[in-house]
């Protein structure tokens, strides 16, 4: 008697989303982009100074006032680009997964516009091989912190106004047979401005490069936990053989194995084998009876489709090991 069980589940992903938004908010407040006291003075701004002196000639009651010259210099342009990896920790991935995302924040800390070049870099000395494939860089065009190819734009140049920043994603496919558990992948940003070395003229707007390029690396980490399932059958027969009317108990074990982690929305579903009929009221989860109706508990039996379904919810463990749940039901051989 054969049956086919289907186990589905969704691994923990992007609960970092809220944390990423928090970090973006915190980073903005911290003024790591030197904007805590307001924007930098724009390039080309004339800054003037003059002084007034009042005095009396000894022996005279008359006060005289003299104005000084006006000293003026023009603020030069400063090129200063920065990039930071924004995920709160390594992004967990599985072999063969596609479109896995690393988040970065690119900032223009200069005092003028900059058309920043983005370049992907893979740290081959400290990463699994083969490396991530199908690398794409996207700008978070809608600013929601979540990669969405339908709304975000693939980019290699990022124009940013002074003191502005933008979220950029690395999107990559994980190889199906990586040879280690980490991959370091980053983005190098480069300012479009280069330093000028003109004559010492306070009225000229020179370019000063404070930080012409920057590099930030993110980390993909292979998940070290996985789900396994195992189905067994117990034949309730005095001679161990299957006869008409023989009851069979099927047990489906679902186990989370490996390191700490969690898998969400785990659902067990199984079709009643041909030649048997489901015995009502026999569906259990970890020994606790479940109703056959699609009601408030975790289980149900659909007689039209001859399908049992049990929602296990989240399987999780905080330390390496195994965490198991068992679904059981009985059938009678027809």
């Amino acid at each position: 008697m054969t049956g086919r069980s289907i186990i589905t589940g969704r691994r923990k992903r992007d609960s970092t989303k809220r944390k990423v938004k928090c970090w973006i908010f915190v980073f903005s407040l911290l003024g790591l982009w030197s904007s805590a006291e307001g924007e930098g003075t724009a390039a080309g701004t004339a800054v003037s100074n003059s002084v007034t002196i009042r005095f009396q000639i000894a022996g005279s009651a008359a006060t005289q006032t003299i104005q000084s010259n006006t000293d003026t210099f023009v603020v030069d342009r400063v090129a200063d680009v920065r990039i930071d990896w924004m995920d709160t920790g390594p992004v967990e991935v599985g072999p063969g997964e596609s479109d896995r995302v690393l988040r970065f924040l690119v900032s223009n800390l200069g005092n003028g516009d900059d058309n920043i070049t983005l370049g992907y870099e893979h740290n081959s000395t400290d990463s699994f091989s083969p490396p991530p494939q199908n690398i794409r860089l996207y700008r978070d065009s809608d600013g929601d912190g979540v990669f969405d190819p339908s709304t975000d734009s693939q980019v290699s140049l990022l124009p940013l106004a002074e003191d502005a920043n933008a979220t950029v994603f690395i999107v990559a496919d994980i190889p199906s047979n990586p040879d280690s558990n980490l991959s370091r992948d980053g983005i190098r940003v480069s300012s479009s401005w280069t330093a000028t070395a003109g004559p010492e003229d306070p009225q000229a707007v020179d370019v000063v490069v404070r930080r012409g390029e920057d590099l930030a690396e993110g980390i993909y980490r292979l998940r070290d936990y996985h789900l396994e399932s195992h189905k067994s059958a117990t034949i309730h027969s005095s001679d161990g053989q299957v006869h008409t009317g023989t009851r069979i108990t099927y047990t489906i074990g679902v186990t989370l194995k490996g390191g700490a982690g969690e898998v969400h929305n785990v659902i067990v579903s199984d079709t009643i084998p041909a030649g048997t009929e489901y015995l009502p009221g026999t569906l259990t989860l970890d020994g606790t009876a479940l109703s056959d109706a699609a009601d408030g508990d975790a289980g149900s039996y659909d007689s039209a489709q001859r399908l049992i379904r049990v929602d296990l919810g989240t399987l999780s463990q905080s330390a390496p090991g195994e965490t198991s749940r068992n679904v059981a039901f009985e059938v009678k051989v027809q």
């Binding site: 930098g40 701004t45 002196i53 006060t63 005289q64 006032t65 006006t70």
Partner: protein
Amino acid sequence: MKQMTKILLAGLLAGASLHAESEPVAKPETTKQSQSPVEVTTRSLQLKMVKTPKGKKVKKWVRATEVVPGDTVRYVNTVRNRSGHNIEKVRIVNPINPHLVYLARSAKCAGGCTIRFSIDGGKYFAAPKELFVKMKNGKKRLALPKEYNAVEWVIDAIPAGENTTVEFKARLK
């Protein structure tokens, strides 16, 4: 009208000070430098690495020509008394450009002087410990150096034929 009031009060209260300044007893004359034997000049300087004639790199204050946000600018104001007389009750006032933030404890003078600051654009000057900001709740707190927007140096006298300097530093926003 305001000037007439000042003159009248000065006549009635000879020698007294009004507010935080010494009030003139006669209408002050503003003179162009080219006509006056007393001259004041201002220069902006920045610290840069320069090569000495022997090729060694040293930091030196040079004319400010490459200033970017975050840089420190040093303003040096020089008074030259080319008149044949001592000048007294010398008061030098330097408004701070709105793009600059005064750096605490940077104001100084070459000789003896009294240094005061303003947070209202030069209407009222006081020593740091006597300069207050009124808060929305009605209370007051000491003004922060970064809130100063004018510096004043008061020098008792500059002898005939002598020069003196006053200065301060500020950071470009």
